[in-house]
């Protein structure tokens, strides 16, 4: 039977990318010198499953490279090699290379062979050099010594209780293979415990009823034994105990070393596994699965009982719920028209419906929400690489990474955040000697903080570096004629200048970033999401960028306005003020454009009815209303007939069945089932300006 493996490719890629992310995270946590065996285990499993997967699918280049990685990791896992900074760097690079390779394979592009080969060579070199610790660039920490001393270890006797759960086979584990592997490690004595075996007629052929009591003699480390059972974690009770007395045969091998071996071995394990593992060392029969339990717990963090659902399905669900909301509000309107005894019941029923529908809508909304850690997770690596390159010492502190926001918002906020974090590391944090001279710790701190506030999410990116340089910003802005030479500006206004287009300067650009370079782009991206960004800065204390974003792009707070018979929705965030003009407040410019004085500037009037070709209720400016709106830094007064009310509306795309319309960002369905268009204020201002120019 031929199975088309291609159908599994997507799932493989998706899983592999996720696995690489977790491998990267684990690598970053890895302490050189005193690595956590569990972390190494995680990293090893990622490499192993990618190798297995790519070999299955015939991605031989990926498989070959991953194999080398795996070999190196195996050395680390077996403690035959030290975790040094050099090795972690190599492995981090390997993560990048594996990611690139998988991406190339996914897009059916050619793999960058040279890069792969170079790194593969480096990895092989590192493996080959493992026996010369002196050759490693990083000095081996003191804690490593006992490990080396333990190497010429003599025989131990291990007693292993292996009690698989019935579902062991279902997960693809084969006890026979495990026993065989143990047999390769040393002298293995196997005792079968078949007590659980049911009568033949009750026997499920796919369940495992057997248990084993194993005795292993030989020069074997606990890690080597537990690694045999790596894949069966969670599918069995496992108990590994060391017999206290060395085996009688052992002294023949290394009689002098034998007495020393045990204590040093204890030190080794206690060093390496400071928290969870001592329990395993002490393993008593009363706590049979203590050692095995620890690992699945760590694994749960990453997949807490979740399923993968395509976003289309969720969008469909959102649509249906949107419908339900509209139908419900239609019913509520209708219900208010009834009278009599039954009407009261009807209305209370409708009120309950309204509540349920609202809850349903909120739950569906939450399905789309993901913790912001999806974005934050890339920063530890980035900050580490950047600070290394710049010769700075930077700590990254992230808080609130479980704060949730909509997936679409998340996808679009990544780049601006990267930009801000890069800026903080590159320009915010000073060099260690400068910091020391200023009485600060040599380690700078970049912090990321996310939290919910009302109906929006706030993300702060800050550093404890030098802060923005007010004088330099002002000087540059004046040079570039962004402000007049004598404009009085408050501190806040000066800091705001960095967001102006055209503030960026070439002289500042490094290969990483320039403070001010592209800040206008950052602000534009955030505005496109309906958010805002502010900057606070204190000289020598550091600066902080505060981003506020809506939780979702599916809903907008809007003001409904009437023009003629039509209703339009204006996003609240764009509205500055609504006012009524009195006769004589409007001036004409060159007999054409109408302007009025608003706060401290002349603002042009845009007649929405002219722009959209409608018949308004009134053409007299003083009879309608002016809504001052702002888009891309420009203000206009939008002339409308009337304001109707504020409401949250569900945004629907016009492009699903139609095409893009200038000045309109989408549509929504009102309570009476009619469609209202949502205005795209920046687009509207552009269209109006073009019309005026024409």
């Amino acid at each position: 039977m031929a199975i088309d493996l291609a159908q599994f490719h997507d799932a493989f890629f998706e899983e592999s990318f996720e696995a690489l992310d977790s491998m990267e995270a684990a690598l970053l946590q890895l302490n050189p010198g005193a690595p956590e065996p569990e972390l190494i285990g995680t990293i090893f499993r990622v490499a192993h499953s990618i190798k297995g997967g790519s070999a299955t699918f015939g991605f031989s280049e990926v498989a070959s490279f991953t194999h080398t990685c795996e070999t190196l990791l195996d050395e680390l896992r077996a403690n035959r090699m030290q975790v040094t900074r050099h090795v972690t760097d190599l492995l981090l690079k390997s993560v990048d290379v594996m990611r690139d390779m998988l991406r190339s394979v996914q897009r059916k592009e050619a793999i960058d062979q040279q890069k792969v080969a170079d790194l593969q060579f480096d990895l092989e070199l590192a493996i080959a050099q493992k026996n010369q610790p002196a050759a490693a660039p990083a000095p081996a920490p003191a804690a490593a010594a006992p490990v080396e001393a333990a190497k010429p270890a003599a025989a131990h006797r291990w007693r292993i209780m292996f009690r698989p759960y019935p579902q062991l086979f279902v997960h693809g584990n084969d006890p026979l293979r495990m026993l065989r592997e143990l047999g390769e490690l040393g002298q293995l004595t196997v005792k079968l415990d078949g007590n659980a075996l049911p009568a033949l007629e009750e026997l499920e052929p796919e369940s495992c009823y057997l248990a084993w009591e194993l005795t292993l003699d030989g020069d074997v480390k606990r890690e080597a034994i537990s690694s045999v059972f790596d894949w069966a974690e969670g599918d069995c009770d496992l108990e590994i105990t060391e017999e206290t007395a060395p085996v009688a045969a052992a002294p023949a091998v290394a009689p002098a070393a034998a007495p020393e071996v045990k204590p040093s071995n204890v030190v080794n394990i206690a060093d390496a596994k400071p928290s969870a593992e001592p329990a395993l060392q002490a393993a008593t029969p009363a706590a049979p699965s203590a050692g095995v339990e620890a690992a699945p717990k760590a694994g749960q963090m990453t997949d807490g009982g979740s399923i993968r659902v395509s976003t289309e399905k969720i969008d469909e669900l959102m649509n249906t719920v949107g419908e339900l909301v509209i139908t419900q509000s239609m019913l509520t309107q209708l219900g208010s028209k009834f009278s009599g005894a039954a009407a009261e019941q009807l209305r209370s029923g409708l009120a309950a419906l309204e509540r349920n529908v609202r809850e349903l809508q909120e739950s569906v909304m939450r399905v789309r929400m993901l913790p912001i850690s999806f974005v934050f997770s890339r920063f530890p690596r980035m900050v580490r690489d950047l600070s290394q390159r710049l010769g700075k010492q930077v700590d990254l502190k992230m808080t609130g990474d479980q704060t949730e926001l909509d997936k679409t918002v998340m996808e679009k906020i990544g780049d601006p955040l990267v930009h801000l974090v890069r800026n903080s590391v590159d320009h915010g944090i000073e060099m260690p000697d400068v910091r020391a001279a200023g009485g600060k710790t040599p380690n700078g701190t970049v912090f990321l903080n996310a939290y919910h506030k009302g109906g929006s999410i706030t993300i702060e990116v800050g550093d404890d570096g030098g802060g923005l340089n007010k004088e330099r910003i002002l000087k540059k802005a004046r040079e570039r004629n962004l402000v007049g030479a004598n404009d009085p500006l408050s501190e806040e206004q000066i800091y705001d200048l960095i967001f102006l287009p055209g503030f960026s300067t070439a002289e500042q650009t490094t290969d990483i970033s320039g403070r001010g370079v592209g800040m206008d782009v950052v602000r534009r991206n955030i505005k496109e999401l309906g958010g805002t960004i502010e900057v606070r800065s204190t000289p020598t204390k550091g600066s902080r960028f505060i981003i506020t974003l809506p939780l979702t792009l599916a809903i907008v707070d809007g003001q409904s306005v009437a023009v003629g018979t039509e209703t339009y929705i204006v996003p609240l965030i764009t509205i500055i003020e609504s006012l009524q003009l009195k006769q004589g407040m409007v001036n004409r410019v060159a007999g054409q454009g109408e302007v009025f004085w608003f706060r401290d500037a002349y603002v042009p009037v845009v007649r929405l009815h002219e722009l959209f070709g409608l018949e308004p209720r009134t053409k007299q400016l003083h009879e309608g209303l002016i809504m001052v709106v702002e888009g891309e830094g420009r203000k206009v007064g939008l002339f409308v007939d009337d304001l109707l009310g504020q409401q949250q509306v569900v945004i629907k795309s016009l492009e699903t069945n139609f095409r893009r319309v200038d000045g309109v960002s989408g549509a929504t369905i009102l309570g009476d089932g009619a469609v209202a268009l949502i205005l795209d204020v920046p687009g509207l201002i552009r269209v109006a300006t073009q019309r005026m120019a024409a």
Binding site: N319, G322, L654, T656, N657, G663, V664, I669, V675
Partner: protein, 168 residues
């Protein structure tokens, strides 16, 4: 009854299509029934700025926003008042950027007929002033002439803003 069913089966075997016919003034048009999503009564639409004049606006069709095209205006026929009897046929077009739903305003829906493939004759060329590129063919059904519309050609470019390849 059974004869009728048998006749339909025969017709299907002979390579026929079921066609929904509708009227615009005195003329009868037909569209492939498989393209018809829904037939509904007229209700006021929301206007779309800067749209071609025959795109009247958009309607809420069970939660999706669907543009409505006036076929009389599209064919440069005399404009008729919209009454509660005016009908909107919701159709789906295949465009290079995927499926699009839209509604056409017509005077009235007639019935569903079977059109055998060899009953369809190509539309004659009238010269430049009568465009026939969206007429798939002419069929004569019980003495009436039915103009079969190629709606992908007719509406596709209006609705999507993407010109269709005439050869497609």
């Amino acid at each position: 009854m059974t004869n009728q069913v048998a006749a339909q089966i025969d017709a299907a075997a002979a390579g026929s299509n079921q066609v929904l016919t509708f009227t615009l003034g005195d003329e009868t048009y037909g569209v492939d029934i498989l393209r018809v999503q829904e037939i509904r009564g007229w209700s006021p639409v929301t206007r779309i700025p800067q749209a071609p004049s025959h795109v009247l606006g958009v309607l809420n069709l069970r939660g999706s926003i669907v543009p409505i095209v006036d076929l009389r205006m599209r064919f440069n026929l005399q404009h008729a008042e919209y009454t509660p009897l005016t009908v909107i046929i919701v159709l789906s077009v295949q465009s290079p950027i995927g499926r699009r739903d839209f509604g056409v305003v017509v005077d009235g829906v007639s019935d569903v007929i079977d059109v055998a493939a060899n009953d369809v004759k190509p539309a004659p060329e009238f010269g430049a002033h009568v465009s026939t590129e969206f007429i798939e063919g002419l069929a004569s059904v019980s003495g009436r002439m039915v103009m079969l519309l190629d709606i992908d050609q007719l509406i596709g470019a209006d609705v999507t803003g993407v010109a269709l390849n005439p050869a497609a």
